[in-house]
């Protein structure tokens, strides 16, 4: 057997986290102020100044794996597990702190759709610009130009500035350029989470084609179904370390098992609750639109928050109100899902167990951790009240359908908006 196409050995990446500093960048004035103040402090306290408040954070540690030629490896893990850092190192955007990677072949990476697209330039111009940013030569782009345009289906708008494109067209064109890179190793991050369903199918088809043609693909995604479809092997990252590596089914199973408490949070044994207990919350689960269990919500994705409740009275009860309050990590109430707002309180619920599904089309929560409160009343009397009941994660997703994922720094909520320019 030939040598592996990718071998990763003892890979680690350390970030320095500065405390007391909200900005990502340093301002010279701060450095000068700190340096100037240091001797003064030393003079006053009579001791050398303490080291500045810095903390090491290992985004990746002791990561080792190999990928053979023609293998399609899916990398999964929660937010902050180190997936992006791993991809950034493999794409040479950032250097590792320790360890070693050997790539035996031309690698191209696609961490974002449409990197470097300029809104003022036309579709044609952007194809050349983006292609060259992704490492294609002008001759290569010219040779594949027609194919790219046909794949994107934007022939008529080639000479229109892309700022006038619909977001769907924009994403299609951007993916089309990237899909026509022909490297031996292709590194892809989440790009399939964009565009409409039909185009996603097309992209999946193209990726399958790439994989079948014997090229090696590294693929990071939150969409477990896609990973399972596309990849032979899987790698589960957790806290910057490789948790499991092997056949994709096993890895996905390990991931789902690991996230079980999040997938279905049980309240059966909880004592910290109020209310008369006529109805009690049994458990809650994060599901996708097809009601398959998910480890976490995804911004912009259609999801279902499923609540199982138990009517303990032994007979149907009337006038049942159910609500879920959502708080972000800062303890701010972000939103409330309530039968009062959606469809009205239930006139009647049966005795025994019943299920309440909260349907969330295009979930408008930013990535992050959230706590939820559960509250139910029967005939106006509090039946069950859990504060807080549990927590869930929201992962970054393509809420706006533009390929630009809103992030945790964007504020506390997502709002639909359109921006126009008037001369």
């Amino acid at each position: 057997m030939s040598a592996p196409l990718i071998s990763v050995d003892g890979l680690g990446k350390r970030y320095r986290i500065r405390h007391e500093q909200a900005q990502r960048y340093t301002a010279l004035r701060d450095v000068i102020a700190q340096k100037a103040a240091a001797p003064l402090r030393w003079f006053r306290s009579g001791a050398p100044p303490a080291a500045p408040a810095e903390e090491d954070f290992w985004a990746l540690k002791d990561v080792a794996f190999t990928v053979r030629e023609g293998e399609v490896l899916g990398i999964i893990g929660r937010n902050g597990a180190g997936k992006s850092t791993l991809l950034k190192i493999l794409s040479r955007i950032t250097e590792p702190t320790e360890g070693r990677v050997v790539l035996r072949g031309r690698a191209a990476s696609l961490l974002e759709v449409g990197t470097g697209f300029h809104p003022e330039l036309t579709g044609r111009e952007n194809i050349f610009l983006n292609g060259s940013i992704l490492g294609m030569s002008r001759a290569e782009i010219t040779a594949k130009f027609d194919e790219i345009v046909a794949f994107a289906g934007t022939e008529r708008f080639l000479d229109t500035p892309v700022k006038r494109y619909s977001s769907g067209m924009y994403v299609r064109l951007a993916f089309a350029v990237a899909a026509h890179l022909e490297p031996e190793i292709l590194i892809i991050d989440e790009v399939l989470a964009v565009g409409d369903a039909e185009f996603q199918q097309k992209c999946l088809g193209k990726m399958g084609e790439v994989a079948r043609s014997g090229r090696t693909v590294l693929f990071v995604s939150h969409q477990l179904a896609t990973v399972e479809n596309l990849c032979h092997t899987g790698l589960l990252l957790d806290g910057g370390r490789v948790q499991t590596i092997g056949a994709v089914r096993d890895v996905i199973a390990a991931y789902s098992a690991g996230s079980a408490p999040l997938t279905r949070e049980s309240f059966a044994t909880r004592a910290d609750r109020r209310g008369n207990g006529a109805i009690r919350f049994v458990d809650a689960a994060v599901l996708d639109a097809e009601k398959r269990p998910r480890g976490a919500f995804v911004s912009g994705a259609s999801s279902v928050f499923e609540l199982r409740l138990q009517n303990t009275t032994g007979e149907p009860v009337r006038a049942v109100h159910v609500s879920v309050g959502i708080e972000n990590a800062m303890g701010q109430r972000v939103t409330t899902w309530s039968t009062s707002y959606a469809g009205g309180d239930f006139r009647s619920v049966p005795s025994g167990e019943f299920v309440v599904d909260i349907h969330l089309p295009r979930l408008a929560l930013l990535p992050g951790s959230y706590q939820y409160y559960l509250f139910t009343t029967v005939n106006g009397d509090v039946a069950d009240w859990l504060l807080p009941a549990g927590s869930f994660e929201v992962e970054a997703g393509d809420y706006y359908g533009t390929g630009q994922l809103p992030g945790p720094r964007d504020g506390i909520f997502i709002s639909d908006h359109a921006i126009t320019l008037t001369h």
Binding site: Y25, T26, L28, R100, L129
Partner: protein, 270 residues
């Protein structure tokens, strides 16, 4: 192809990659120009208007103050200095801001980062070439024929190019780490405009100040431009030229060295 990624090893294929990505240099410079001309109403005229107006202001200034005119038309004397100065100033401000302006590229794609500031210098160079056309027009209007000294002009253009690239690389890398430098650059350019021989000539500077005066690398370059364009009718002090060449070489070496040293952290801090 065989590629090893290790701490501190990014340099192994660096110069080969730089060559491989040379087309990206062209595309980035082209993008900046294309976008600028699409977003402005009079497009290319801006490239001419700024040096032309600067020239008019400084010619008026010379007349008002009564600076000795010598044997050369004022308009040409000033324009021959405005040309390299504006090239230097544009190249420096654009290249020093270039990394910050291309944050999305730097955090999402690998390529030798040197390309970004150098492409910005090329953009400024295109503007410079346009203003050379303005110079030709003014020369024809004044009925002024250049001499054989014009052959030396590419040397001085190259000096300006290398000097602004070297300083630009240095400032671009500093700008990523310390955003204060975006306030420093306009200030440096503003001061430079007054301590460089644009409104005046080096001949107006008392000899005892020359040691200090020649520390400004643009002095030798601007005097060189004047000497070359005006057919040797203005003097050039070999000491100022030597100082310019030495400082340019030092700036280029230090700029590339510092940039390469900081480059590996760009994606982490930008």
């Amino acid at each position: 192809m065989h590629l090893v990624i290790e701490p501190g090893l990014a340099s192994a294929n660096y110069w080969r990659d730089l060559w491989r990505y040379r087309e990206l240099l062209y595309f980035l410079a082209w993008r900046d120009l294309a976008v600028r001309y699409k977003q402005t109403a009079i497009g290319v005229v801006w490239a001419l208007l700024r040096p032309a107006l600067t020239m008019v202001v400084f010619v008026l200034f010379r007349r008002l103050v009564g600076i000795d005119r010598g044997g050369v038309p004022d308009a040409l004397l000033v324009l021959a200095a405005v040309l390299p100065w504006q090239f230097f100033a544009n190249a420096l401000s654009e290249s020093s801001a270039s990394l910050i302006n291309n944050t999305n590229l730097i955090s999402k794609v690998y390529f030798p980062r040197l390309i970004v500031p150098i492409a910005a210098v090329f953009t400024a160079f295109v503007d410079f070439l346009i203003t050379v056309g303005l110079l030709a027009v003014v020369m024809a209007w004044q009925g002024f024929a250049p001499g054989w000294t014009l052959l030396a002009l590419p040397l001085f253009v190259a000096l300006t190019f290398v000097l602004s690239t070297g300083l630009g690389l240095f400032l671009a890398a500093l700008n990523v780490e310390y955003r204060d430098f975006r306030y420093v650059v306009p200030f440096v350019i503003q001061v430079g405009l007054f301590i460089s021989p644009i409104a005046f000539s080096s001949a107006n500077v008392p000899e005892r100040w020359h040691g200090l005066y020649f520390l400004n690398p643009m002095v030798g370059i601007i005097d060189g431009f004047r000497w070359s364009i005006l057919g040797g009718r203005t003097p050039i002090d070999p000491a100022s030229l030597g100082s310019s060449i030495a400082i340019t070489a030092a700036a280029a070496v230090a700029g590339v060295w510092y940039f390469r040293r900081m480059e590996r952290h760009f994606a982490d801090v930008i």
